[in-house]
């Protein structure tokens, strides 16, 4: 084959590849790149939900910086994301540990552990709204049974109980189930000889966990926690919207940025301001994404 022939073949090959990728090119431009640019533009206007719009420069950002509601949401979002990431990862690791301890009925245990993560979050939210209800709530009933007095805590409307309850509920989300499965295979990949050698030395459970398990599965932990933070940013809406409403009861304590965006754009009709908030959320996600990229390049093993 001549040089020209090879060149033609290469061109044909490249065109085929681009042809296959065409759906993604179109989708990427229309549903990601364009909305991002458009979002930055709308954030510089006072656009209302009915479409009326005027260029206002950085006014939305000035209002945003001056707004205590925004700073509250900003703090709540970061707090929520980080704590949810840690708690769900720890719980997923515990469940993976228990499931990897092989015994009878393991299939039933995995079913119970995993099913909550694949049912609609809105159904879970309503279940927990009533389980943590003041009257006829399961948790108050259990506490009453244990303490012998009539417990009437309004878990979801009490500033002191809301965070523990919300974080407890995040144990039941898709993210936890996914992490549990990933941890299970991560734990299975730890060579058994390492444990056997440690057993001979008479190492305790905690020593083995700290000195063998943790270092061996650290790439998996890292990957899980950071992807977990992305899904916390994204998934919190579907959990919190039916649970504590767009105003983030009690007293905006659970109003993450996504709820505030919905509230401003659709209840207050301030779409321009909603876009400015979206820009903040977008940049926040970029920061988390860059951290993931940076860390995974360094620590996570990629097969190639």
């Amino acid at each position: 084959m001549g040089r020209k022939g090879r060149k033609n073949k290469e061109l044909a090959n490249n065109l085929t590849a681009y042809g296959f990728m065409l759906p993604w090119f179109i989708g990427f431009i229309s549903f990601t790149v364009f909305p991002v640019i458009f979002m930055f533009y709308v954030s510089l206007t006072n656009r209302k939900l009915n479409g009326v719009s005027q260029f206002v420069g950085l006014a939305n950002y000035k209002n945003l910086i001056a707004s205590s509601t925004f700073w509250n949401s900003f703090r709540v979002t970061i707090f929520f994301t980080i704590v949810m990431m840690i708690i769900t990862a720890a719980w997923a690791l515990l469940m993976a540990f228990l499931l990897n301890y092989k015994q009878k009925f393991n299939g039933i245990f995995q079913f119970c552990y995993f099913i909550p993560s694949v049912i609609p979050s809105v159904a879970l939210a309503y279940a927990f709204r009533t389980m943590f209800g003041k009257d006829a709530g399961l948790f108050n009933a259990l506490l009453s049974l244990i303490t012998g007095s009539n417990v009437k805590i309004n878990w979801l409307y009490n500033g002191r109980t809301i965070y523990p309850v919300i974080f407890f509920i995040t144990l039941f989300t898709y993210n936890t189930g996914q992490m549990m499965l990933i941890f299970r295979s991560g734990l299975n990949d730890v060579p058994a000889e390492l444990y056997e050698a440690a057993d001979i030395d008479g190492a305790s459970f905690w020593t083995k966990f700290r000195k063998i398990t943790l270092p061996m599965i650290s790439p998996v932990i890292l990957f899980n926690t950071v992807t977990g933070s992305i899904s916390a940013l994204n998934g919190s809406f579907a959990l919190l919207y039916p649970l504590t409403g767009e105003t983030g009861d009690p007293n905006k304590m659970t109003q993450v940025l996504s709820l505030l965006i919905y509230n401003e754009a659709f209840s207050n009709y301030k779409v321009g301001y909603g876009c400015a908030l979206s820009v903040v959320l977008f940049l926040l996600a970029c920061v988390f994404g860059l951290v993931l990229f940076g860390l995974s390049k360094k620590y996570v093993y990629y097969e190639n």
């Binding site: 993604w24 989708g27 549903f31 990601t32 656009r47 228990l98 309503y126 006829a136 992807t227």
Partner: protein
């Protein structure tokens, strides 16, 4: 020796106990939902009994006879079918050159795909809402179905991972036999990847069955409500009374909504579990 056997037994007992406690905690909301669906509203709001005192199918009869349940169910199924067909077709096409071919820009495109996976959809939903409004797509399923035909980065990534696990010798043999790269995809990779298509179809169905956020933003009227939205609206209040939440109906409807994912797990757990694992593991 006997002391060691004793500790082992003790340890086994402790782990089993912990396993059972965790199982009870994780399964408790599901029991609560199922039990609530068979209670009257009065019993639900006054008692925490798991076995209802006077079990009733009132809530179910309301859902099936007096609500638009079948319409919401149809909408959810249409959503699942539309997005499923779209993403299986487009994502597998896009994944093929990324998994198998060499061409300029491949690494940049793949990096962009991973990068878009990191962008939470909720950050772009307001500009997309305006965009779909201009197209006249609001209050239909189109804002969710049409993008599926243009490859979801997440599913592209999954297909790529699975394609890479198929031995490359098979492509090479086909090319020696005179197959073009297009032929390799349609005659070799796609037929060999049936389990992959099934896995992604299942993952995508579970996602859209559960999806609340996008319908909340895009759907307004009763006509195109999905089951998840209906749970927050139609099933929520007693007819003619917007102040009393109809918890029994919500629990009964929730029961109906948790049955399909449970069945899917029971009958397709290998697809579901493998798919979810692959989506997170091995970059």
């Amino acid at each position: 020796m006997s002391k060691k056997a004793g500790t082992a037994k003790y340890k086994k007992f402790l782990i089993t106990l912990l396993k059972i406690i965790v199982a009870v905690i994780m399964f408790s909301p599901i029991i609560w939902i199922i039990s609530g669906g068979f209670k009257t509203l009065t019993e639900f709001t006054t008692s925490t009994r798991i076995i209802p005192k006077n079990p009733t199918v009132e809530a179910y009869s309301y859902i099936f006879n007096y609500s638009n349940f079948f319409k919401y169910f149809r909408n959810t199924v249409l959503l699942i079918l539309g997005t499923g067909v779209g993403t299986l077709l487009s994502s597998s096409l896009v994944a093929y050159p990324l998994a198998r071919m060499d061409f300029p820009g491949k690494n940049i495109f793949f990096t962009l795909i991973i990068a878009t996976m990191m962008v939470p959809g909720i950050a772009l939903i307001v500009p997309q809402y305006i965009m779909f409004g201009r197209l006249g797509w609001l209050d239909t399923l189109l804002p969710m179905i049409v993008p599926a035909f243009f490859a979801y980065p997440y599913n592209v990534f999954l297909f790529r991972q699975f394609f890479r696990s198929i031995p490359r010798e098979l492509d090479e043999a086909a090319i020696v036999d005179g197959c073009t790269p297009v032929g390799v995809f349609f005659r070799v990779l796609a037929p060999l990847s049936k389990p992959t298509y099934a896995t992604i179809a299942i993952l995508s169905s579970v996602f859209w069955w559960n999806e609340l956020t996008q319908p909340v933003f895009y759907i307004n009227s009763d006509q195109w409500r999905t089951l998840t939205i209906a749970l927050m609206t139609s099933f929520m209040y007693i007819k003619g009374n917007a102040f009393v939440i109809n918890w029994s109906t919500i629990m009964a409807a929730s029961t109906l909504m948790i049955i399909p994912p449970m069945l899917l797990y029971l009958f397709g757990s290998s697809y579901l579990v493998e798919g979810i694992k692959t989506s997170g593991l091995k970059g």
